[in-house]
Symmetry: C2
Subunit: 327 residues, 2 copies
């Protein structure tokens, strides 16, 4: 009962912010993402009745109590479904720094879901896997699929309609996302804490929720029509609306640093000069520039020329989680 | 019929963003400001029937056609009231760079209103002066008074209830506003253009309007109670809500540069270490830190230590416009 799985992170083009149910981790809004090939988590899991407790190794180090508790609680959902109670040994590593707005929880919980389900011999559909993954981390549900993916907010109290599904096949269209790393420091306010604060204190929260369905519909159609300009403009607008929501919370949450903001201006300047590049930013300080493959060298050169950008990572659309080993 | 007037700019602590009537320049929300002693405009005006047309000299240079038109149109309101049609020669100078988020139009139109009214021998109350000044520039209405000032949005279609008035006497309380200059470049999107775009495209616009009355009431009470912590927190929240509104417009408006954002974090870091400092930012890239007089050296040192801050200007509460010369 040992499995090793590799899952990729994803970037939301229509952003997710806000929970309609915190216990079941049900999103208040749907979202649309692109799974990324270059950033991934590899997770190995073994269930064994002879283990005394769950143990979690993250990037070669024992995890904190809090991380272990979150993981055990999540695994309980899958153990319950399988009718098993064996403790697990989990070893997980990322190829990118954690908690810096890279969505390590997305690839992490996607990998853990697929690995645990397989190790427990559960036969689950993609939809079911995404529903499990969502309970570990909202954005993980989208990493159950490759390419352009939509997460549905759903309406049901039990969350059975809050699942992700692919919009198009994983190899539908080659676009590029270039990540400009501006900081490796963990963010001060976690996404969950930020979302809760926005829900409780922002006067803009309800307006954010209300505007989302139109954005989702427009983005879906733009992807189906390969309308890159529409995709880019809408992604930038959704990103700015999400950060505006965070800023309008009380006290306001500012995920950007100076380099993030200079890079936002640089992306727009490059666009004004005729290159189709658009930015998006998660709950962290990294800048992400969306472009077409033929413009990648120009966009990379622009990002590399910004003082304070430490590294630029090029991503193409990534696949669904892959099972690497089964024992 | 020649007069020279000095008027001071002001900083909004509860921000103004959005117009309910563009022709009469009626604000969609009230605002609360502090008039600043260190930044001012001196305006000299002469009405003379022998002049052929209005002429406007700004900082020693002939004004642009657009600036002249705006000024002439504004003076027509006062000429109409006085029953006179003499053209005017206006010479105006600021002690700070224009169009960089310093509110040069606030002190400029306040000085022009008071100077023109006096030259035209109009006997106007402060309220009437503020109603005239508002038609030149929304923020100018507040610069008709010294110290802490409230501008009322009003409800009447003719704008007769959209006026400013002092909340407390001008010398009520000594606080400090330190301006960190991050750029001398004129902003890309004017306040008026930004406000119109927000009204037309931001999903958050109505929520911004709806939340304002509570902020105004809370700020008024905090000023009356000299509750500096409350004033500072609320000023920061109002500033972030205004910029969030600009960012959520489509396309999103980003008035900050990298230094602005680094300074925002630095103000918060200083506060976390025990010094009461709060930021506010107008529609431009300058950072403004509000503090008590005894903390001014610490706050100044903090701002001066941020790479990219070109200059720090200390302001105390400023007076109402002063008539310097009458002929």
């Amino acid at each position: 009962m040992r499995t090793k799985v590799k899952a990729h992170t994803n970037i939301a083009l229509i952003k997710y912010w806000g929970k309609r149910d915190e216990r079941l981790n049900l999103p208040a809004v749907g979202s649309i993402s692109l799974t990324l090939d270059a950033l991934w988590t590899e997770t190995e899991i073994e269930f064994n009745v002879r283990f005394k407790t769950d143990r979690l190794i993250l990037n070669g180090q024992p995890a904190t109590e809090k991380e272990l508790r979150r993981t055990s609680k999540f695994l309980d959902l899958l153990r319950q479904r399988a009718g098993l109670s064996s403790p697990a040994l989990i070893s997980s590593k990322n190829n990118f720094p954690p908690a810096a707005g890279f969505g390590s929880s997305a690839s992490g919980f996607a990998a853990l879901t697929v690995a645990a389900a397989r190790a427990l011999k559960l036969e689950l559909s993609g939809r079911e896997l995404s529903i499990f993954a969502r309970q570990g981390s909202g954005s993980a549900a989208r990493s159950i699929f490759g390419g352009f993916v939509e997460m549905h907010a759903g309406r049901l109290a039990d969350g059975s309609d809050a699942f992700a599904e692919p919009i198009v096949p994983p190899d539908y269209w080659d676009v590029r996302l270039l990540i400009g790393v501006t900081s490796q420091v963990a963010k001060k306010v976690s996404s969950t804490a930020g979302m809760n604060l926005s829900k409780e204190t922002s006067p803009y929260y309800q307006a954010w929720i209300n505007a989302q369905p139109v954005d989702l519909k427009t983005m879906r159609r733009a992807i189906e029509q390969r309308d890159f300009e529409q995709i880019g403009q809408l992604a930038e607008h959704s990103c700015l609306k999400m950060h505006a929501l965070a800023l309008s919370s009380n006290p306001g949450i500012l995920y950007w640093n100076g380099v993030t903001v200079e890079a936002m201006h640089s992306v727009r300047d490059l666009r004004a000069s005729g290159t189709q590049a658009y930015f998006t930013i998660d709950a962290g300080p990294q800048i992400k520039a969306l472009c077409l493959p033929e413009d990648e060298p120009k966009v990379r050169a622009m990002l590399e020329s910004i003082p304070g950008i430490q590294q630029v990572i090029s991503c193409a659309p990534g696949p669904a989680p892959q099972i690497l080993e089964v024992e």
